[in-house]
């Protein structure tokens, strides 16, 4: 038997080499990189849940739109229109009974067979299954049932007409189709990231958590073939790191910060800037003593010069908002009711008998919002209001705003939201039952809530748009809202890449990307 001995001197001499060996030994694996027709694109977060019923957010949906198909899908371009996807035809002439016919020959990955109307029925009716516990159950709240009339044909029966069906349900992720066979074989009612079977042009090949998601062509896909053989999606949270990676040539396409837009204008990269489906507003907590008087709130509405704030923050890249609903959507307003008028603001404060008013403005860790707050601080000082800035972690702020007692710490608040392309997604957060959740202003009107619910079923588009304008008018009348901006989404891609995005550029539509 040989005894291993190492002297102290030998140990010291080998220490450097040992460190290097340890460094090398932890690197392992087996794969290789193929550069042909591979798109490398940034996602700002890693995937969390790819189940259409309980998906996480846009970072999941970007992947889901590539690996699943729905009856219809959002068309790439500048307009919010839909086009046929898995469906060969769809008849929307009757708003309560929508007939569809699937294209034959769409095969699920993993030998789970051909897509049939049974899969459509399974995929949509599961939103109401208590065991699925669907987070997006409201998307199919008015689904009665899906009637299967043939292998490829069926009828979606609704309990009443549902206006968002073709704007934010069927073309969105809630309209994606799963394999009934694969789901039943998995034994689970829902899933997170282990997708039972893919129904889109791509399928998941490999997922290295927080490192890369690799998509490859789905051999069972019979629709238009996508250009790229594979897509590598890199979750890069920090937008500056993503822009650096793009500048270094490590990725082909990335979303960029709004304040980076000028640096890409006129450059070699293809820059795309589109109006976002977002909305930022100054909210006033009507439950706090200082803001319980509507006259004071109205004074603040008049004291804020939104155009100046938006220009200072975004340098002309973003327009000021006239309401909550973003302009591409029906229900967007053309003007505000209580605009900038500092003299009127001073009059109202005097009328309310308020002197030496000091308020706090709370918002999350968004550098844009710090500029917004600083400009607002000056504007409010101009009418005699002292504004204290409270910037904090967004989740901490939300917890405070939702807390039954701590919400009193929130006086003025800014927390931008994003939305799907239907006005109902915008207004749903301002109801009475959202107090304690997402209605940070705590404004409440039972009548308003009833009208908001009824707006879901208004079939006439013009009438529906007018109703959403009126609903926003009423919110502004409460004095608790100052509408700020909707924002833009900006992307850059290499010149040889033909990028494709949704109308708001929230999603990169990966299956539509190509190259010269």
């Amino acid at each position: 038997m040989t005894e291993f001995r190492l002297t102290r001197r030998q140990a010291l001499q080998r220490a450097g080499g040992g460190s290097l060996a340890l460094a090398l030994s932890s690197l392992s694996g087996a794969a290789f990189a193929q550069e042909n027709r591979t798109l490398r694109i940034r996602n700002d977060r890693d995937i969390e849940r790819l189940d259409p019923a309980s998906r996480g957010g846009w970072y999941d949906e970007t992947v889901m739109f590539a690996i699943f198909s729905g009856l219809v899908r959002y068309a790439p371009g500048d307009e919010w229109t839909y086009e046929l996807d898995a469906a060969a035809s769809i008849d929307d002439s009757d708003p309560q009974h929508i007939a569809f016919e699937l294209r034959p020959g769409i095969m699920f990955s993993g030998d789970h067979g051909e897509m049939t109307a049974e899969d459509v029925k399974f995929s949509y009716e599961r939103f109401a299954d208590p065991e699925v516990n669907a987070v997006y159950a409201s998307d199919w709240a008015m689904l009665d049932h899906v009637e299967v009339t043939g292998t490829y044909t069926g009828i979606i029966h609704l309990t009443e007409a549902f206006a968002p069906l073709f704007t934010s349900t069927l073309p969105h992720a809630s309209g994606l189709i799963l394999s009934k066979v694969a789901m039943e074989a998995s034994g689970d009612k829902s899933f997170a990231t282990e997708v039972p079977a893919c129904s889109g042009p791509y399928m998941l090949d490999e997922w290295l958590p927080r490192e890369m998601i690799r998509l490859v062509r789905n051999p069972g896909w019979s629709g238009p073939a996508p250009y790229y053989d594979r897509i590598e999606i890199l979750p890069i949270g920090d937008v500056t790191s993503a822009e650096t990676a793009f500048a270094a040539g490590d990725i082909d396409c990335t979303q960029i910060a709004v304040n980076s837009i000028p640096s890409y204008e006129g450059g070699n990269a293809d820059l795309v800037v589109k109006p976002a489906l977002g909305y930022a507003w100054l909210g006033m907590n009507v439950d706090t003593p200082k803001l319980s008087d509507i006259t004071v709130r109205r004074a603040i509405q008049h004291a804020v010069d939104v155009k100046q704030i938006v220009d200072a923050t975004f340098g002309g890249a973003v327009e000021q908002a006239n309401g909550l609903v973003p302009p591409p959507l029906p229900g967007a307003r053309d003007e505000v009711l209580y605009g900038f008028d500092p003299d009127r603001a001073r009059e109202l404060l005097a009328e309310a008998g308020v002197t030496d008013l000091s308020l706090s403005l709370t918002f999350g860790t968004n550098p844009d919002l710090m500029i917004v707050a600083q400009v607002m601080q000056v504007q409010l000082a101009n009418v005699g209001i002292d504004l204290t800035i409270r910037q904090m972690d967004s989740n901490t702020m939300i917890a405070e705003a939702q807390d039954p007692e701590d919400h009193q710490n929130i006086e003025l608040i800014i927390e931008p939201f994003t939305t799907a392309p239907d006005p109902s997604w915008v207004t749903e957060w301002f109801t009475c039952n959202q107090i304690g959740d997402w209605n940070f202003q705590r404004t409440c009107s039972e009548d308003w809530d009833a009208r908001n619910t009824a707006a879901l079923t208004i079939a006439d588009p013009e009438e529906r748009a007018q109703e959403y304008v009126a609903l926003q008018d009423d919110l502004e009348e409460t004095g608790a809202y100052v509408f700020l901006y909707h924002g833009v989404n900006a992307w850059v891609s290499k010149p040889e890449v033909n990028a494709a995005y949704s109308a708001d550029a929230q999603w990169a539509l990966l299956r539509d990307f190509s190259a010269d």
């Binding site: 460190s19 989740n395 917890a399």
Partner: protein, 314 residues
């Protein structure tokens, strides 16, 4: 020697348990409802309540802490509240990346710091010594993330020598090393100054010893004396400092991993804080603490072995 090591080991384990309990309380004291964050704004109260029940978040804190420790003893780190994957899978797949980064950072620091220290020690009081001292002191104050940003701009964007993000293809060792160079440099460079100063001081002390004068009297060249007879003695304090320094390197790795979008324990913990993914955060922090304790124990053992007098003193 053995009793010294046993004392150190027991102390290390005690530190680990106390740190874990403290971290558990601190992490759960952070405001923000994990259910709201995980499920998003469209989740109903019933769904959020079900989620809290599933994750054990509805239990009193003491019960959660006891359950956490008990599960940990059985090797169960819990479940990621977002992806529903075992936390152990996430943590132990990230661990090699961070250890590699920290070790490579130490290698960078040693590769630059030791020669600089030797050079300065061989020319004490000269202009070279002054310049090395200035550089060493300056880099000590540099935050790792700042160095990371400058390294990215210079070596990735401007020169294109190294990739800007990621950890490289999992199957390609050369690609992984290529991706490792810049982040390791970023976290290691601050230690160049420490090591250079330590080696310089320690070498000057050793060079003044009688046995070194004897070597010189026998005509042994200065460089050979320095490398063969002085450096092995002078490097002992460096090992002691590096034991503590591993903790700093691990904390430096957090921001560097974020800047380089590099998967590892640091970026895992960072993402978990943002999303209030407490089980993942705890898993990452517990393993990092264990690494820190283990690094200190290894350093203590090495030092005791290299200089048994220290072990006798306790």
């Amino acid at each position: 020697m053995m009793s010294y090591l046993v004392r150190r080991l027991v102390l290390g384990l005690l530190v680990l348990v106390v740190a874990m309990l403290l971290l558990f309380v601190l992490i759960y004291a952070v405001p923000g409802d994990p259910a709201t964050i995980a499920l998003g704004p469209r989740a109903s109260e019933a769904q959020k309540a079900f989620f809290r029940e599933q994750m054990g978040l509805d239990q009193p804190l003491a019960v959660q802490a006891a359950s956490f420790l008990w599960n940990l003893l059985q090797g169960d780190f819990g479940t990621d509240i977002l992806s529903q994957r075992p936390v152990a899978d996430l943590v132990f797949s990230a661990l090699p990346r961070t250890v590699t980064l920290a070790v490579a950072g130490v290698v960078w620091a040693a590769l630059l710091g030791v020669p600089l220290g030797i050079w300065a020690a061989l020319r004490p009081g000269t202009f070279i010594d002054w310049v090395i001292g200035l550089i060493s002191t300056s880099v000590v104050a540099l935050p790792a993330f700042l160095m990371a940003i400058y390294a990215l701009i210079l070596f990735s964007v401007t020169l294109g020598w190294f990739p800007a993000i990621g950890a490289g293809d999992p199957g390609d060792l050369a690609d992984q090393l290529h991706h490792l160079v810049l982040p390791a440099f970023a976290i290691g460079v601050a230690w160049v100054g420490y090591i250079a100063r330590l080696v310089r001081v320690s070498m000057l002390e050793t060079l003044a010893q009688p046995h070194v004068r004897t070597y010189r009297a026998f005509g042994v060249p200065d460089l050979r004396i320095a490398l063969r007879y002085v450096l092995p003695i002078a490097v002992v304090p460096v090992i002691s400092v590096l034991g503590v320094g591993i903790g700093n390197l691990l904390s430096g790795a957090v921001l560097v991993e974020v800047v380089f979008s590099r998967p590892g324990l640091g970026s895992l913990a960072y993402d978990a804080v943002i999303s209030r993914n407490f089980p993942v955060l705890l898993g990452a922090v517990v393993v990092t603490t264990a690494l820190y304790v283990a690094a200190n124990f290894i350093a203590d053992t090495l030092i005791a072995w290299l200089d048994p007098r220290l072990a006798e003193k306790g």
